[in-house]
């Protein structure tokens, strides 16, 4: 039993079921990110944890107490909204202590809590201002402060960074991570941004169409995606997915691919169990950073396969150079070091780290598990 238990939870609007049997147990101090495209039900699930939406089936328990029928204010949670939802008529200080006031906490205690949190978030100089006089980043801090002051069991974040500009978003992301490391609070965080999910979380639930596609640590999600959806949704640029055939050579399963000029390459798999797929078609998934020049290849990897292909496009992006090629008729992207000398049209020797390659069943789109 976890700290926050979501057991078999469903949500229906009339005859339409939008969340199907969600089962997640969150441990104390965990940072769970619900990530998925818009309309996947992640915000609905968050609102159900908060008590702002009813639960159609299953149950949600916080600290072992089932909260299905419990009013939002009695669940000991705090929520940071996308729009921040700061009360426009109150000062920052009043905004932050409103919850404590409603819960009947005496004034001296409220002031102490306010002072602590304001100092922690470095907003002590803003306490007498109205939300309208604050910048986006400051409002964001105040919204977090309002949640922190309550000292709740679970923090709920609903896309809190999506209204900020790109630079501020990265700064605030680090800030949130720091806060979590310092305070060790339990957080459920909703976002559609996969980078936010990977950087912030201790665990990620990737959602699509009301189903949890995969629940795991960022590393599990990134390295061993459960299916094609997770593989392509997480990571930027997305994982390369190319059709391949499994062939046997020297007793090992290999992926047979064609390059831009029609030449066939056989790349040895690290997963021996793929022998069962001999002669069948699969979808081969390779992260861009697993395709490099030979010098840039991962030295710890046991399975680097050399491979020559024609370069279609190069895109220098400062820290990396992205190289596009054609593999089995599909575009595939390689992530090179910035100083790799690659020219479009050139035949280039790549090195593929097959340890990081995954194979998907084309029929079910599920990963073929070892």
């Amino acid at each position: 039993m976890g700290f926050l238990d979501i057991r078999n939870v469903t949500k229906s609007y009339g005859p339409v079921e939008v969340l199907h049997r969600i089962d997640i147990a969150v441990e104390e101090g965990e940072f769970l990110v619900l990530v998925g495209p818009s309309g996947c039900g992640k915000s609905t699930l968050l609102n159900m944890i908060a008590g702002l939406e009813g639960i159609s089936g299953g149950e949600i328990a916080i600290k072992g107490r089932v909260v299905n029928g419990v009013h939002p204010s009695k669940r000991n949670i705090a929520m940071v909204f996308q729009s921040y939802a700061l009360y426009p008529n109150m000062t920052v200080g009043q905004n932050m202590t409103f919850g404590l006031e409603m819960h009947g906490v005496p004034k001296p205690e409220r002031d102490r809590a306010l002072a602590d949190v304001a100092k922690l978030l470095q907003i002590d100089h803003l306490l007498d201002r109205k939300p309208g006089q604050l910048s986006g980043g400051q409002r964001q801090r105040v919204a977090m402060g309002r949640a922190l002051v309550r000292n709740p069991d679970v923090f709920l974040f609903d896309e809190p960074l999506s209204n900020l500009d790109a630079k501020l978003r990265v700064d605030m992301r680090t800030e949130i991570k720091k806060l979590h490391q310092k305070l060790k609070t339990t957080i459920v965080y909703v976002t559609h941004d996969q980078i936010e999910a990977l950087t912030l979380s201790t665990r990620i639930a990737v959602m699509n169409k009301g189903h949890v596609q995969q629940l795991g640590t960022p590393k599990e999600i990134y390295d061993t995606p459960a299916n094609l959806f997770v593989a392509t949704f997480m990571g930027s640029p997305a994982m390369n997915i190319v059709p391949a055939t499994v062939v046997m050579e020297n007793g090992h399963p290999h992926a047979a691919l064609t390059d831009a000029d029609g030449g066939v390459h056989r790349l040895r798999f690290s997963q021996a169990n793929l022998a069962a797929w001999e002669g069948k078609n699969i979808l081969l998934g390779i992260r861009p950073e697993a395709i490099t020049d030979p010098e840039g290849a991962d030295r710890k990897s046991q399975n680097i396969q050399p491979f020559t292909n024609r370069v279609t496009v190069t895109e220098p992006a400062g820290s990396d150079t992205f190289v596009t090629m054609t593999l089995s008729g599909k575009d595939a992207i390689a992530r090179m070091r910035a100083d790799a000398s690659v020219e479009p049209g050139q035949k280039f020797d790549f090195a593929i780290n097959m340890e990081k390659a995954v194979a998907f069943d084309p029929a079910t789109e599920e990963r073929i598990t070892p």
Partner: protein
């Protein structure tokens, strides 16, 4: 791309400008004429009016018509002046405006932030009440007031005007609160504020503009109402009915100067409300129509 120059702008010469102002001033004078006539004639003795010159300034200035209209003029059978009726109107208008505005605000709050099954129907029906003519409900209303024992009393009039006003005030507040972010209400719910607390602490403080609209609208309508006043006023008739009784009396000399003074007295409160709150009126009417 051609540069924007003065030539491309609409140019208004001095003569055109003078002409525009002249027309505007003429129209303003025309609209102010009735007020002028009422003003000057309420300040002169009756003889000067019957003498034939309505437009002239008084040759003898006097406040007697005002005193008479206020406290001694014959209203119906009693020589009480308009004073007691003015008081009746105030006693009716203030609670009726306050209650209908508060109820309208609560309705708007519920209809936008505490949606329930069929809420659009409820709102539609309330909206419908805005289109029912007063005359249709006179007899049912009389029956209800009689059953409640409120016939012919100020409380009865308050009830009638509240019931009739709620449709409008609900419309105002519903549309205003519709653009109020629901996330704020949710945040307050999580913070532990209840139904009335959220209303009182979160919504009401930002409802100024629309409250002004509601108050002005209700105040003018209720203060100027004649039909309900004359039908259900009984012994506590409002200002409008008294003014009618003053002006329409068929016995004795027609004291035009007193009538003018009385008419101005009857119009003063609404004028006052417009002058004090008028600039918020347009602001409130426009609220929500443009995305800020």
């Amino acid at each position: 791309m051609a540069a924007v120059t003065q030539d491309t702008a609409v140019s208004t010469g001095r003569i055109t400008r003078a002409f525009i102002y002249l027309v505007l001033i003429l129209f303003a004078l025309f609209y102010l004429l009735p007020l002028y006539v009422m003003g000057v004639n309420s300040l002169k003795p009756l003889a000067e009016i019957t003498g034939g010159n309505m437009m002239a300034l008084p040759s003898t200035w006097t406040l007697d018509p005002w005193r008479s209209a206020w406290s001694t003029a014959q209203i119906g059978v009693e020589p009480t002046g308009l004073k007691p009726y003015f008081l009746n109107s105030i006693l009716m208008v203030v609670p009726a405006v306050a209650i209908s505005t508060i109820v309208g605000a609560l309705n708007g709050y519920v209809l936008t932030k505490w949606r329930f099954r069929g809420d659009t129907w409820v709102f539609g029906l309330m909206l419908f009440s805005c289109f029912i003519p007063f005359q249709i409900v006179l007899i049912p209303m009389a029956v209800v007031l009689g059953k409640l024992g409120l016939a012919g009393s100020v409380s009865g009039l308050i009830l009638v005007h509240v019931v009739y006003g709620i449709g409008f005030t609900t419309l105002y507040f519903r549309n205003y609160y519709a653009s109020f972010p629901t996330e704020l209400v949710r945040a307050a719910m999580i913070d532990g504020a209840g139904f009335f607390r959220i209303f009182w602490r979160i919504l009401l403080p930002v409802s100024g503009p629309i409250a002004v609209v509601s108050v002005i609208w209700q105040f003018t309508n209720i203060w100027n109402d004649f039909l309900f006043g004359v039908s259900f006023g009984g012994t506590s008739q409002p200002m409008t009915v008294a003014l009618n009784n003053l002006v329409q009396s068929s016995t004795g000399v027609k004291e035009y100067n007193v009538h003018f003074a009385g008419a101005i007295l009857a119009a003063l409160p609404t004028l006052f409300v417009y002058i004090v709150a008028g600039r918020y009126f347009v602001r409130g009417l426009m609220a929500g129509s443009v995305k800020g």
